[in-house]
Symmetry: none
Subunit: 229 residues, 2 copies
DNA sequence: CAGAGCGGTGACGATTTTGTGACGCCGACG
DNA sequence: CGTCGGCGTCACAAAATCGTCACCGCTCTG
C-alpha cells in the first residue's frame, strides 16, 4: 500500500490521532489545518486519498470538494469525509459532490482503517497490498512476486506494476495514454509506444505458462486483461 | 482535437515556436503578448485551452488566472502554465489558483503536445461507456467487446463503432451520409459506398449467430437496425 | 422485357497499427 | 571504476484494417 494520504482537519488533536493511525496502517499521512492549505498540498503532491473534515474554519469542506473536482489533475482523487453525527444532511451533500465515503465522528481506529482500505480497494486497487489472483496466476504485491501454476515468474519492476494494474482492472480496455498515467505516473513524459514494449516484455514473461493470452491487444484502442481465455 | 488554443507569451520567439507546434498538432493557435491582450482575446473567442507564460510584463500570470477564474464564462477553461525551472514555488502557486498543469521551460515539442493532449482529454466529454444490449446481442464499450449468445465476436474498430452507433440508435433509418457523419466523423471525405462495405463486414461478423438480420437495408434510403427480427 | 438504379460482394493495394529485435543510457552494485 | 540489469527509443517487419473498384444480381418502371 504505502498510499499518500492527505488529512484536512482543523482540530489538532484529531489530526494527530488520524495521522498516527494512518501511519500505523502503513500509509504516509500529510497534514493540513484548513481547506486552503489542503488545496495547496494537494497540488504539491497529488495524494492517493484525502480525509476531509466537513466543518472547517474558512473554506468549507464542500467548497474544497468542489474545487478539487474542478481541476483536471485532482478530480479523480478519492475523498472520505469526516462528519459529526449531527450533520446528517451534509453527508448526503458531500456524496453528491463526489465524496467517496464518509465517517461520522467519533470513529474508532478500526473503522477508519476499514474505510480507507475499502475506498482504496474500490478506487485505486493497484495501491493496495491485496493478493490478486486469476486462476493459477497469482500476483502478490507484499512479496513482490508473481507465480503461475505455482512457479515463480521473473519480471522487472515496471512489468510488475503493469501486470498489477491490469490484474486489478480486468475486463476493460485501456489506451496507451491511460496506461502511462496509471502505471508510470502523472507527469512523466514517455513515448506511447513504450507501453507496447513493456507489454511485450510482460507477455514473454507470461508466455511459458500460457498466461500471455490474458493480455490482449484491442486494435485501435489499447490493451485489455481478460480473466477468461 | 482541432482545439482553439490561446498562447499568452511575451517573448516573440517562444510564441512563434509554440504556435508552430500547436498548429502542427492540428490545433488553431491564437496569440497574445501580455495578460491584458490575453484576457481580451479570451472574451472574444473563448478558447478551449490556454497556454500561459508565468512571467509576463505588466499583469502577471497569477493575476491573469485570478481574473479568468472570476468570470463565469471563462472559469472553466483549462490552463497550462509555462514556468522557468527556477520558479518552483510559482508552479505551486499557479496550481493552487486553478491552473490545470504546468510545463517547465525549456520544454520539448513532444512534451508540449503531450501535455496539451492530456489536458484536453481530461476536459473532453467521455464517450458513453454504457453497455448496450438487445436480447442476446451485447456490446460493451468499456471492454470493447461484442458478444452474441455469450460468444465473443471479432470485428474491426470501424465495425465496432458502426454497430455501437446502430445499437444506440435503433429502429430508425440512416442514410449513408448520416452514417458517415456519425460514425466516421464530420467532414470526412469518403465514398458513400464504403458504408456498404462496412455494413457487409459487420453483417458477416454477425451472421454466425443470425444477428445479421437485425441490420436491415432500406432500399433507396439507407440502413436500419431493428431490435426484433 | 429491356434498361436504369441500387445494393451486395469479392478482391486488391494502400495505409495504419502493432510486434519485435537491437541499441544506448543510466543508476545500482560490487 | 567496470559490470550489469532494466528502461525508453527507434527502425523495421508483420499484421490487420481500410477505402475503392469492378462486377453481379435484383427490383422497379414503362
Amino acid at each position: 500500500m504505502a498510499a499518500q494520504i492527505l488529512v484536512v482537519e482543523d482540530e489538532a488533536a484529531i489530526q494527530e490521532l488520524i495521522a498516527l493511525n494512518v501511519r500505523q496502517a502503513g500509509h504516509r499521512p500529510m497534514l493540513a489545518g484548513d481547506a486552503e492549505e489542503g488545496l495547496a498540498r494537494v497540488q504539491q503532491t497529488l495524494p492517493d486519498l484525502i480525509l476531509l473534515d466537513w466543518m472547517l474554519p474558512g473554506m468549507s469542506g464542500i467548497d474544497f470538494l468542489r474545487r478539487l473536482r474542478t481541476n483536471g489533475r485532482t478530480q479523480g482523487i478519492p475523498v472520505i469525509m469526516l462528519t459529526a453525527r449531527a450533520e446528517e444532511q451534509d453527508k448526503l451533500l458531500g456524496l453528491e459532490h463526489g465524496a467517496d465515503d464518509y465517517i461520522t465522528k467519533p470513529f474508532s481506529t478500526r473503522e477508519l482503517n476499514a474505510r480507507i482500505k475499502a475506498v482504496l480497494r474500490r478506487r485505486a486497487p493497484q495501491m493496495t497490498e491485496d493478493r490478486v489472483e486469476f486462476g493459477d496466476l497469482v500476483l502478490d504485491p507484499a512479496t513482490h512476486r508473481i507465480s503461475a501454476n505455482g512457479v515463480d515468474l521473473q519480471v522487472g519492476p515496471t512489468e510488475f506494476k503493469l501486470l498489477h494494474f491490469f490484474m486489478t482492472h480486468p475486463e476493460r480496455v485501456y489506451s496507451r495514454t491511460q496506461i502511462l498515467d496509471q502505471v508510470w505516473g502523472d507527469h512523466v513524459f514517455i513515448e506511447e509506444r513504450t507501453v507496447d514494449v513493456h507489454i511485450r516484455r510482460l507477455r514473454s514473461a507470461l508466455h511459458p505458462t500460457g498466461h500471455d493470452r490474458l493480455l490482449q491487444t484491442v486494435r485501435g484502442s489499447g490493451y485489455r486483461f481478460t480473466r477468461v481465455a
